[in-house]
């Protein structure tokens, strides 16, 4: 199972990176491959490659502010989460994604 994610928050200095970290930790704990692109106030970091997006089974996008270059994810399975929720409930989010993807098999 492969997940990609993009996180972005209004001030772009804290929640952006905390949510990225939380999602990475939660996914790794379940042995799921994840790569998180951050769109903080400094700009895009850890940019997702076209290959990584293509191979992803699920895309997580935060919904507090607009995601840059969202067209990259057209046609992909997307789930939108609040950046605060991503920080506090990353485990739940990853669990639910896993359950959803498994039920579709």
């Amino acid at each position: 199972m492969k997940i990609v994610a993009v996180t972005a928050c209004p001030s772009g200095v804290a929640h952006t990176y905390m949510s990225a970290e939380a999602l990475e930790r939660a996914a790794k704990a379940k042995g799921i491959t994840i790569k998180v692109e951050t769109q903080g106030s400094i700009g895009i970091e850890n940019r997702l490659t076209a290959e990584e997006i293509m191979e992803a089974d699920m895309v997580i996008l935060t919904k507090d502010i607009g995601i840059k270059e969202e067209e990259r994810f057209n046609g992909k399975k997307i789930v939108r989460v609040g950046v605060s929720d991503a920080v506090k409930k990353a485990d739940q989010i990853i669990e639910k994604i896993e359950a959803h993807l498994n039920s579709k098999k």
């Binding site: 972005a8 928050c9 209004p10 001030s11 772009g12 200095v13 804290a14 929640h15 905390m18 106030s41 699920m58 919904k63 507090d64 502010i65 607009g66 399975k77 997307i78 789930v79 939108r80 989460v81 609040g82 950046v83 605060s84 929720d85 920080v87 506090k88 409930k89 739940q92 989010i93 639910k96 994604i97 959803h100």
Partner: protein
């Protein structure tokens, strides 16, 4: 009409995107402006030399924040073609006194107008002139025209009365406002509620009111500094990880990042969140009583150079942090190894996810 509904459903996201691009303008403008006033040594606008130039650099930042806010709200809705109509309309509105609200409305209106303009079918040869000529010209004419000849006046009147109300607030009302700001800023530590309070603060700064920003500067740093202090005062009540997080929180609080308190709230929300809310409210009330003012749209000790009422500012932070630390430590029992704190699971709600495929 379906399109309009989709756009308006995401209004919050569009507004927040605009705010997100605007923040550096407000911070740079506010701090440089306040620095120039600070360095003149007296309470007034610098009159000559480099300081006067610095003052104008700061003012430039402030002036630009309104069109930038609108421009990027429009961008969030309808991408690049919306930026110019939104920014120009907001600038026009600001000249009429419409300020922050004018920018919000200009951004939304421009986004919607450009969204529909983009749908107009044109023969292929004409396609390239749409985003460069047709949309900017017509979009700007419609939105800025609406501002100038229609809605600008009423928005300006609304802004003026709100400003007058804020300026004329009696001390008891300011304290109530301070308490609300403190509670909101601590409640989700940088999350959506915190951001609403923050947007309100930016609005007051754009209207030349600086005491709300002073209050807010205390409110945003009390949660992390308070929790950091708590780990120092009663280390046995915290895990090794939390004690490390406490040090990081102290640092984050100093630079005004409320999120430093999040690890503690996630681990023990029922005891941490009320404590940081009460502490922030206490600190904010103290700042209101001291009459702290702040020209930068940011908080924490890092903005101390541009605060008037510095001693009151620091005392307010100390009061808020102490209240938080004492309250949370009183509520917490000593951490015993092996016993799970189950309050976390029961307190947090189930998260709803909807999958778009």
């Amino acid at each position: 009409m379906g399109d309009l509904k989709v756009i308006l459903k995401d209004t919050r996201k569009h507004l927040m995107t605009g705010v997100s691009y605007m923040i550096p303008f407000v911070v740079a403008g506010g701090i440089l402006l306040a620095l120039s006033v600070l360095l003149t040594g007296k309470a007034g606008v610098p009159e000559k030399g480099m300081l006067k130039d610095l003052f104008f650099i700061g003012v430039a930042g402030f002036t630009l924040m309104i069109p930038i806010l609108a421009g990027f709200i429009g961008f969030s809705i309808a991408d690049r073609p919306a930026i110019a109509p939104a920014a120009i309309a907001a600038y026009v509105g600001n000249e009429m006194g419409a300020g922050f609200f004018g920018a919000l409305i200009a951004g939304l209106l421009a986004g919607i107008v450009v969204h529909y303009l983009k749908k107009i079918k044109v023969p292929n040869v004409m396609k390239s002139i749409m985003p460069i000529f047709v949309i900017p010209i017509i979009g700007t004419f419609i939105v800025a025209g609406a501002m100038k000849w229609g809605i600008g006046g009423p928005i300006a009147a609304l802004t003026a009365s709100l400003t007058a109300w804020l300026q004329g607030m009696q001390s008891s009302s300011i304290i109530l406002l301070a308490i609300i700001i403190g509670l909101m800023e601590a409640f989700d530590m940088g999350g959506p509620v915190n951001k609403v309070a923050y947007a309100f603060v930016i609005m007051t700064i754009s209207q030349g009111i600086y005491n709300i920003a002073g209050i807010s500067a205390v409110g945003v740093c009390v949660p992390p500094i308070g929790m950091g202090l708590a780990t120092l005062l009663a280390p046995k009540k915290y895990s090794g990880e939390e004690r490390e997080a406490g040090k990081a929180a102290l640092l984050m609080g100093c630079i005004g990042i409320t999120e430093g308190a999040i690890p503690f709230a996630a681990a023990d929300p029922l005891k941490v969140i009320p404590s940081i809310m009460v502490g922030a409210a206490a600190g904010c009330t103290s700042a209101a009583l001291f009459g702290v003012t702040n020209m930068a749209a940011w908080g924490g000790l890092i903005v101390l150079p541009v605060i008037t009422g510095k001693i009151g500012f620091v005392i307010s932070i100390a009061i808020g942090a102490t209240v938080t630390a004492l309250m949370v430590n009183a509520l917490k029992k000593v951490k015993v190894v092996g016993i799970e704190d189950t309050s976390k699971k029961s307190a947090s709600e189930e998260i709803e996810l909807s999958f778009e495929e």
